[in-house]
């Protein structure tokens, strides 16, 4: 892909993130920028409840949420930043070349899955159509 133009707010922000298996894994809550040679470049995406809170102006809440998410991850890694090289496609949704377990929303999902849902019988099968 090259030469394509996007409007950050219109085309990139708030788009659904989809992992390499087609699973939904959050939204593009913000874009990370970096200065290089006096120009501004998009270095990657920011996702997660903390990023959304920051975007809506609640900085303190956002920082706290990021910290909570990090605390829940066994490796204390920060999955809220997705570098551009893991973005496979930009269309009406954003496809990542990552698995959803590597994206910020996974923290919350996994915690709830392990501590709540797993205790309810039948959580391992989809009710078939």
């Amino acid at each position: 892909m090259s030469g394509r133009r996007f409007w950050a707010h219109l085309h990139l922000l708030d788009r659904q993130l989809v992992d390499r298996d087609g699973r939904l894994c959050g939204n593009v809550d913000d874009l990370e920028l970096e200065w290089r040679d006096g120009r501004l470049w998009v270095s990657g995406l920011r996702t997660g409840a903390g990023s959304l809170a920051r975007r809506l102006g609640a900085r303190v809440l956002g920082a706290w949420l990021d910290q909570v998410h990090r605390g829940v991850d066994p490796e204390r890694a920060d999955h809220t930043f997705i570098p551009l090289r893991h973005v496979a496609d930009l269309g009406d949704h954003v496809t990542l070349s990552l698995d959803r377990t590597e994206v910020a929303t996974w923290h919350g999902e996994r915690w709830v899955a392990d501590h709540v849902i797993a205790h309810i019988p039948g959580s391992g099968h989809a009710s078939d159509e």
Binding site: T47, G122, S127
Partner: protein, 409 residues
């Protein structure tokens, strides 16, 4: 299953699934107080929901995404958050009202106070959401809801003067006990009951759950164009029966048993039993839909995996929201709050929030990025735009009228 049978099933499901507790209460109450003087509002409301439900289904079939999912993309996270909070709150009230409806219907059979049945009902609703497939839920409760046809049977059995009924419907007159304000208030309540927001959120998420593509558009249109209006006729039957039986006797509708009372009067115990079955099915189905809608709206705003088409383990927070909503709804009822009042507030507030729901649908249905070649035609846009103006007027008038009439007293 043959294609024809599948379509037939879909239409029947749409008819039986159209009515929920809001429609039951609103139509019976207006029938008892205004006769058929507000019947035209039901017609206007049905056309409105047909137009917008078809759009919401088409959005889902073209883009593979339900409408609420796209609200954040098109309107931004702030506006979408306001939309989410308002929709979630109103949806919650509706969920509580539906749970109450199920409990009351069962209490009429069991002879115990409905409050005692609330926990069991909530548990049952949640178990069905958890284990039953999406398609099975829709079809089972939709078809069972056809038991409400007993209202039509009761009406016919009464052998009313059809000409004078038609005259009353086409020449709305203000009853002496009512004021223009109560008339307008009940018009808004009826309108809100017919065009409930959760229906479109649920409908478009459901379309994605069932994997609709462009090939299903024709079926979608058939269900909506045929099923919903026939469902609207069911609503009118409830209104007509109330106007024929309750109004002359001066009985107003303040409880759910009073909604089915006319059927008992006309058709006896058998009729009453069928009516209760219909109410049970309609409210149970609607409780499931509002429960799922709670999950859909939150999950879609935040980008979480949602839906019954994946294992619960793969959409854990979605299922948690559904579970918590049902539990909170039950707790809300156990506080002893009047379920009819909850129902009335839910439909009136739905009316106030209608533009929030329908404006994004109209914009998205015109967006070639999501719709490809299937954007709205000019005629459809004209109708939808007219409705949007009506919805805005209704929304603005709701709270003042609620205050002036003291909630329709």
């Amino acid at each position: 299953m043959s294609r024809f049978l599948k379509i037939f099933l879909g239409v029947l499901t749409a008819i039986g699934g159209f009515v929920d507790i809001g429609d039951l209460v609103a139509n019976a109450e207006t029938g008892a107080r205004f006769g058929l003087g507000l019947a035209w509002v039901v017609l206007v409301g049905v056309v409105g929901i047909v137009v917008y439900a078809e759009m919401a289904g088409r959005v889902a079939a073209s883009s593979g995404r339900p409408v609420f999912d796209l609200v954040r993309e098109r309107l931004g996270p702030r506006v979408a958050l306001v939309n989410l909070l308002a929709s979630f709150f109103i949806n919650f009230l509706t969920l509580a009202a539906e749970l109450a409806g199920v409990a009351i219907a069962l209490s009429l059979l069991a002879g115990v106070s409905y409050v005692l049945l609330v926990p069991a009902v909530a548990f049952l609703v949640w178990v069905v959401v958890w284990r039953m497939s999406f398609g099975a839920i829709e079809h089972v409760f939709g078809i069972m809801g056809l038991a409400l046809l007993v209202f039509v049977v009761a009406l016919v059995h009464l052998s009313p003067d059809w000409t004078s009924m038609l005259h009353e419907a086409t020449h709305p007159a203000l009853p002496t006990e009512e004021t223009p304000f109560t008339y307008a208030f009940f018009a808004i309540a009826l309108f809100g009951a017919a065009m409930t927001p959760y229906e479109v959120f649920f409908f478009s998420s459901g379309a994605v759950e069932e994997g609709w593509t462009r090939r299903d558009l024709a079926t979608n249109r058939l269900n909506v164009y045929v099923g919903f209006p026939l469902g609207g006729l069911l609503s009118l039957a409830i209104m007509a029966v109330a106007s024929q039986v309750l109004r002359p006797a001066g009985i107003s509708v303040g409880t759910l048993p009073q909604v089915v009372l006319p059927v008992a009067v006309v058709l006896g115990k058998v009729g009453l039993a069928v009516a209760i079955l219909g109410v049970f099915a309609a409210t149970f189905g609607a409780a499931i839909e509002t429960g799922l809608s709670a999950g859909y709206t939150v999950a879609q705003y935040l980008g979480w995996q949602w839906g019954k088409f994946v294992r619960p383990r793969d959409a854990p927070r979605f299922h948690l929201v559904v579970l918590v909503s049902i539990v909170l709804g039950a707790l809300f009822l156990l506080s002893g709050i009047d379920p009819i009042m909850v129902t009335e507030y839910s439909i009136v507030l739905s009316a106030a929030a209608l533009p929030l729901t329908y404006f994004p649908i109209l914009v998205i249905a015109n967006d070639p990025e999501y719709m490809g070649t299937l954007t709205n035609g000019k005629v459809l846009n004209a109708i939808a735009m007219t409705y949007l103006c009506i919805l805005t007027i209704v929304a603005v008038a709701t709270v003042p009228l609620m205050i002036i009439t003291k909630g329709g007293a």
